[in-house]
Amino acid sequence: MKHVTEEELFQYREGDQKGRQAVAAHLQECAECRGELARLEAVFAALDAMPVPDPGEGYGARVWRQIAPRLPEKGPRWWQAFFAPQRLAVAGTLAALVIAAFYLGRISGPGTPVETVNVNQNQVRERVLVVAVGEHLGKSEMVLVELSNTQPASGQKLINIAAAQRRAENLVEENRLYRQTALEGGDKAMVSTLDELERVLLDVANSPDAVTPAQFESIQKRIAEHGILLKVRVVRQELRTAETGGKSQPAQTDSTAKEKNKA
């Protein structure tokens, strides 16, 4: 009679379904293999015999006392987070556009009725957001396209996604800012798209620097599953249209129209 291997016994104990019935049937008949399984169990029982010293009642408080002085003095207040390095680019864009808007307001000349000025300011504010979000979506699209199109070489054990991961990390910060703004503005469709985009960006940002082909495939699958790339493209196209004020709409390409219909 051929006995089961140690690995088969281990897999059986692990609950592996592959060849389970055959191993179970063999164990019914073979006392020797049952003995082997018992010896394997003894190893796990021995593992349980290793005690972990009790760190004590107030251990959590002790850890806190040790790390508290090493944490930043104050938590990340909203304005600190806003001026974090990764957000400076966004802030810069916004500032430039606001200054331009102010300048345009000045040269529109005196005597402009107050109501018209208010309407213009709102339009300018909206356009500022449209331009900034458009840029953000463009950058996000590039990261997602890059990840979606990368094909690991055959036999490649690890794929380095560190660069895409860093960019995704920065984009997560920006994304939150725009999502919040869209939420305040009551733009539900934009909130929904940015929300989905954030989840995908977080997935990428939280992945290890180097991933296995299987993990990489799972990232690609998540991007595809959400259809987020498509949504981002459609929203970007709409923003471009809005940016031009709907006056000189660029000719819609077939693919854009199809994407929009699909979305």
Binding site: K2, E6, R39, V63, A68, L71, P76, N206, A210, T212
Partner: protein, 215 residues
């Protein structure tokens, strides 16, 4: 590894609230998370490093790193699971670093303090008490500690996460930065090595047969 049912949900909810408050600038909210999960992270850290001081360092570093990366966490998973993963990653790095340092200094493998540097197999050939006598004994625990010390950092991480904390193979693969099949093999290799090292203790006396052979 994880408590079940309603309790988990309520803890998870208040963890999520504490994370949000911390992100909003309330540093005391982070204290709640540290105090709540330190002991749990400590158990993992101790089993991985085998030393109290190292374990404490891992716990501190894990919570510091978690604080720095809290924005990335953003309620995506259970905070305890997340900080556990950070601790496991840091502990495996520490183990590798320690092995490299030992190799550079050409030190013999670490042994438990106060114990002779002799092969445990040779030591216990004839005078080993029965497993029943040893079960739960200090001696067995010490031998297990020593046997764990002979594992590679990846093997030790894999067996700790799998056996004590009931982690899934995918979770282990993520920490080991490998695929699931390799992670499964790593757990198996760890078990094999432990079994060999503990053979005189954890097996009845008498030669074990070579498994997979015909009788």
């Amino acid at each position: 590894m994880r408590a079940s049912g309603e309790q988990v949900e309520s803890v998870a909810v208040s963890d999520a609230v504490a994370v949000e408050q911390t992100l909003a600038g309330d540093r005391e909210a982070y204290r709640v998370l540290v105090e709540r999960h330190s002991a749990y992270v400590y158990r993992l850290a101790y089993r991985m490093t085998g030393k109290k001081e190292d374990a404490e360092e891992v716990v501190q570093e894990a919570f510091l790193r978690a604080y720095q990366k809290l924005r990335q966490f953003a309620g995506n998973a259970n905070f305890a699971t997340w900080v556990y993963r950070i601790a496991a990653n840091y502990a495996i790095d520490r183990l590798r670093q320690r092995k490299n340092e030992d190799a550079r200094r050409e030190l013999p493998p670490r042994v438990v303090e106060g114990e002779p540097e002799t092969d445990p197999l040779a030591l216990v050939k004839d005078r080993a008490p029965s497993p029943e006598q040893l079960a739960g004994s200090v001696q067995l625990a010490a031998k297990m500690k020593e046997a764990l010390g002979t594992l590679t950092p990846a093997e030790r991480t894999a067996i700790v996460m799998r056996h004590w904390d009931g982690c899934g193979i995918e979770e282990i693969a993520a920490v080991l930065k490998s695929n699931t099949s390799a992670a499964k093999n790593t757990v198996f290799r760890a078990v094999q090595k432990l079994r060999l090292a503990l053979a005189p203790f954890a097996e009845p006396r008498g030669a074990a047969r070579a498994v997979g052979t015909e009788s």
